[in-house]
Amino acid sequence: MTTQQLEEKICLAKRKVLDMCVAAGKGHLTTAYSCAEIVAVLFYEVMRIDPKVPRWEERDRFVMSKNHGSVMTYPILADLGYIEEKELGTFMRDGTRLGGHSKLCIPGVDFAGGSLGIGLGAAVGMAYAAKLDQKDWLTFCLVGDAESYEGAIWEAAMLAGHHKLNNLVGILDRNRLGVTGFTEDILKIEPIDKKWEAFGWEVREINGHDISQVREALTDVRGRESDKPLMIIAQTTKGNGIDFMSDAPLFHGEPPRGADVERAYAQLGVKES
């Protein structure tokens, strides 16, 4: 896939996320936008998956630990054929599979999240199982930076480092925001790279919105020389692409409303569908 093609897919997916959140009047849009490029590169280019066989045993696993961002995966799952496009219109409506947090009933979803701090532990379990069975599939886990306040993240980090699970790839969505403010004001997270290194992980740092850097960081994950699990710290912006929602704590879990809807569509460079 060319860079332009991927950019167009990301733009379209972000517009659909906006459609879904505006229609529902709720949803973690800003959290989704901070990881849009990461999720897209994983699903379109990096992960070994087969949308025709969602439970294919040899597939790579994806654990959305910061699961409130899972709305970002829905349009991509639809584009890949896991679910039908029209189902996106059911987002957060009564009886839908597409809730604010993804569940196992959705084809293409490997972990049901919602409670923060648990996904990385589950990913460690998956990666350990793959090692035990001498399987070559990888486990990817997207962790939020404010999620990293959860102690269980570090329990899992320690275990992965101890067992040298180099088939585990973590990506830290470092959008610098929690719900009420910036992480460094709420409770300092930095130096986050040193923390992961101290727990026995190889650490890479990228701009999470630069497709070329996301690709570069993930290019050698299959057959990496290091015996350590890999943590990619992706510097991102919450609400990236819409200026009045970027780095804006008040927009956590809130879609734009009123006149802001048009402003948001205008800034995405596409018209409301």
């Binding site: 049901a112 409670s115 648990i118 350990y128 199982a129 269980a152 899992a156």
Partner: protein
Amino acid sequence: MIEHGEDIIIVSEDYAAPMFDSLRVTHPERFLGVGIAEQNGMAVASGLALTGKYPIVYGCAPFPLTRAVDQLKSAVAGMHLPMTILNSGIGFGVPEFGATHYNADDIAIVRGIPGVRIITPSDNIMAAKLADFSLQCKEPLYVRFDKNCEGELYAPDEIDFNCGIGVLNDPGDRANAVIITCGCLINDCLNIAKVAADGGINVKVVDLYSLPFDEEELLSILGDLPVLTVEEHNVNGGIGTALLELFNRHKRKNAITRMGIDFKEGYPSVSGSREYFMKEFELTPEDIYKELKSLL
């Protein structure tokens, strides 16, 4: 079972148990030590189960459960993952170490999480049969091992974990009361039934070893007899409460007295033996017999 090729992983929370310690040597790859990290133990187990492994999570009671309730709810019950969470010790557990080590609220906690079966093995036969049942079961199991349980109460074909009810003393039509209990208190209650029979009180003794249980079966066993529930668990939220709920749902008017640990003055600040606390909380055989007589 591992020798027979079962895809089991022991998730150990740094707690010694003879039955698993040998595995650590013979099958180190099947023994995943997560350290004293109960939340991660449960989360890792969910990941293992998602790949088709059968995890057995175990540690020092009550912590595999109480330190990881959200993981049990969200990552295990929420995804309907078959596994076993094993707590060694129920009720007062090791009370010399204080209230931190009581496991006296676990039924109340787990009953509030849909889709998790609670099993209290009452003898060695049941423990052995549980091993086979766990691998066939499609739901997560929370197992309360009472180290004080000894001997053999059942024949293997008498145990049905989906039914969950064992009638261990049945005077038939002569019965004029029922004691419902579980764990090692069964032996006390069987002895009480013998003494009571000499005094003209004929007691059915029911072992409620699996929850949820077969409600129709239990109602049939109880008839309209008065019921005494006895448990080494908080008197609120345990099997006595389950019986009250059962009677309420079915509009039954059986007289019922619930005996259990009544923390009405909070957790004790003193330490002591299990025997000391059973006496303090009026759960000795003498106390049970006294309640049985007053129920009638």
